[in-house]
């Protein structure tokens, strides 16, 4: 944790969030190394992800925190890649702290896209079979393990896993189809 910037908001960061971030750093580093050529860029991106987590991660459900970190990492790596195309070492020029603060700001376009995606996703979830919705809710919202879900619903563990996987596959298919039919 000492590799990441000291922030006033960090004191408000809950311990579970810290644990999730620390457990996710190896995976995030592996993920970012395929998107950013320089190891220093990977470190910079991880710092931006950390700051965003501190400032904006409070509302994310525990079960979705690692996913949220990877999504932020992907967005930030893309932003850094675009910035590096026109400017060299944006974070070095602007100063690390200032650059991190600006990068952590809320992009209005990104917010609109996120809102639309969430709306489409909600509609797609409502069309899922009820049993699949139950598994998704228990896993994402209630943060139960698949073993606990299987016991609570009285279904085999493999069935719970399969229903979750099929739910995600169907949701992604529906989102992709909606994006193709409505490119706006």
């Amino acid at each position: 944790m000492s590799d990441f910037p000291d922030s006033n908001a960090e004191s408000d960061l809950s311990q579970p969030w810290r644990e999730v971030f620390e457990a996710s750093v190896p995976g995030l580093r592996a993920f970012l190394s395929g998107r950013l050529s320089q190891p220093s860029d990977v470190d910079d991106c991880l710092q931006v992800v950390f700051v965003k987590m501190v400032e904006r991660g409070g509302d994310v459900a525990p079960a979705a925190r690692r996913s949220w970190l990877f999504r932020v990492a992907a967005n930030e790596s893309a932003r850094m890649w675009r910035s590096k195309a026109s400017t060299d070492k944006m974070l070095e020029r602007q100063g690390a702290e200032l650059g991190l603060r600006e990068a952590a700001g809320i992009d209005p376009t990104e917010q609109v896209i996120l809102r639309e995606t969430t709306e489409k996703l909600s509609q797609a979830v409502a069309r899922l079979p009820e049993t699949w919705q139950q598994v998704v809710r228990l896993r994402i919202n209630e943060n139960l393990t698949f073993q606990q879900i299987a016991e609570q619903l009285g279904i085999p563990l493999g069935t719970a896993l399969t229903q979750m996987r099929r739910a995600l596959e169907r949701l992604r298919t529906e989102i992709d189809e909606q994006s193709k039919s409505d490119p706006s």
């Binding site: 979705a64 990877f70 996703l121 909600s122 998704v136 994402i140 919202n141």
Partner: protein
């Protein structure tokens, strides 16, 4: 984050499911490390991981998932206050109906009152019939100059004043019998 060990499912070959399990923290340390090694060398796996991450992160912000209370079919949550509340409501409804029924001036109360008086109204009608019958007989006797006034008055007094104590259904018969006796005595007098 959940980190099941013994109960953790074996990583399947399917990359979608592997990404899902990794992102949801279902892998133990060894499984996660193995997945991360593959992630570093496989762009396809990284792309799949990102798609799954976007879906799961989006699901957590979806009101359908985050705001809907989860009630599994095997668990029925019943508010223990509901039976008590239903009983109180039922009792209150009964009291309200009773109060409405006995309230003076209401149609229901009139009906109830008429029903309660029906037992008394039946003897009264019989007395009226008897009185009418006796009157007719009395007039007839007066016209005939009979002397049965005393019997009739006594009989009427018995039928009206003691109506509550004596079975009134018999009073008009008594009047009738008395009148017959009078008539016979009158006939005898006339014959004699």
């Amino acid at each position: 984050m959940t980190t099941p060990a013994a109960s953790s499912p074996t990583p399947p070959p399917d990359s979608t499911e592997r990404c899902m399990l990794y992102l949801l923290g279902e892998y133990d340390a060894d499984q996660a490390a193995d997945f991360e090694r593959q992630l570093q060398s496989s762009h396809e796996l990284a792309d799949e991981l990102l798609r799954q991450a976007e879906l799961i992160a989006g699901l957590s912000q979806s009101p359908v998932i985050s705001q809907s209370p989860m009630i599994p079919p095997s668990v029925e949550v019943v508010d223990s206050r509901l039976p008590l509340l239903a009983s109180v409501l039922a009792i209150a409804a009964c009291i309200a109906l009773f109060v409405l029924a006995v309230q003076p001036g209401s149609p229901d109360s009139d009906r109830v009152a008429s029903l309660s008086n029906s037992a008394q109204s039946i003897p009264s009608e019989e007395i009226l019939i008897a009185r009418a019958w006796a009157d007719s007989r009395f007039d007839e006797m007066l016209d005939d100059g009979g002397l049965a006034d005393l019997y009739v008055d006594d009989a009427l007094a018995l039928a009206t004043d003691d109506a509550e104590d004596v079975d009134a259904t018999l009073s008009w018969m008594f009047i009738g019998v008395s009148a017959n006796i009078d008539a016979h005595s009158e006939d005898a007098t006339n014959d004699g």
